[in-house]
Amino acid sequence: MLWERGLQFLGGQTAAQCHEITNVLNTINEMVGLMGDLLWSAQHRAMDLDVERLAELTQKVSAQVQRGDQIVRAVNLFGHSADTPRAVFDLRSLLEQVAFMAQRPANLARVTLKTAFPQESISLENSPLGFQQAVFIALQIALGAADKERQVSLGYALADGGVEVHVTGADPLRDRTRVEQDERFLRHLVHALGGRVLTLMEPDDPNRITLAFPKHTGEKPGRPLTAAREDSNGS
């Protein structure tokens, strides 16, 4: 089950980010089309060329290209997190990656997703893909129903021998049946990663989810996970 759910996570997130790239391309397509229309009107309808408008559009296209590039880099990094079952990674960088990928589901749920990271980071040795999946599931549980605008925050704190990852702002009114389904798998996954679910929307703290992970799982350390690693084909 862990392996299948891991594959589903890898495939699902890759597809979701590809959808975001389609949105970027669609926007670029329309803005470049508009630039073409303005040029055509100036040539064929003796209209003055709106130079300022064209300049503004070129800047907007450039901004969309940068947005698309960010998404592609994130997909590349995410894809490479499945290279090895265990690796050393920087916690802050990995959580920033998860937060980036969770922005669109958060937007769809009308939730403002913020990160609240301390200055100090830590290197963990674990499954980069499994770790991201665990934090992503915690965020999904917290996002809840899109019935009102809310804020969810992702953070972490260094603890003895490891780290605690916090998700605050969870929706206490979320359908408990769905939460329980996700909770069961999350506990199973976090346990497999050598960690524990410390709190999950408990009655005395209904807005909080806390996952605790060790610094390393005690297995043989893997290779360091490097950002934007090129594969053997150079792509």
Binding site: T27, E30, D37, N107
Partner: protein
């Protein structure tokens, strides 16, 4: 003949802005909205011939918007705009009451043709 009146609904604001301007240049009376709730308000306030509607938006998704729009304006033609018009999306969209489905990115001439077809022109 009066101008075709079109409402474009998508949470990609730059996309909506560019598309409204391009359709305006082609004689279409085009307006934009960035979420389902705003689109429903606009449909209440003005008569539109066709709505071009993104499938996935924050809050109310495209399929829910179709149902609510048709409660208010049963004659309104709605074209779904989506990243992939697979059989599932097309069937769901038409079952919800959409006229048809278009895949992003959309060619402007193809879009105009579809808008006119939906409006019965």
């Amino acid at each position: 003949m009066r101008s075709l009146r079109v409402l474009i609904v998508d949470d990609e604001q730059e996309l909506v802005g560019a598309l409204v301007e391009r359709l305006d240049m082609r004689g279409v009376d085009a307006h934009g909205a960035h979420d389902g709730a705003t689109a429903l308000e606009m449909v209440e306030q003005r008569d539109f011939d066709v709505v071009l509607l993104d499938l996935k938006m924050p809050g109310m998704g495209g399929l829910e918007v179709i149902g609510r729009m048709h409660e208010r304006r049963p004659e309104l033609q709605i074209i779904l705009l989506t990243g992939h018009c697979d059989a599932e999306n097309t069937v769901k969209g038409k079952a919800a009451g959409a006229f048809d489905c278009l895949v992003k990115p959309v060619d402007i001439d193809t879009l105009l043709s579809m808008l006119n077809k939906a409006a019965g022109r």
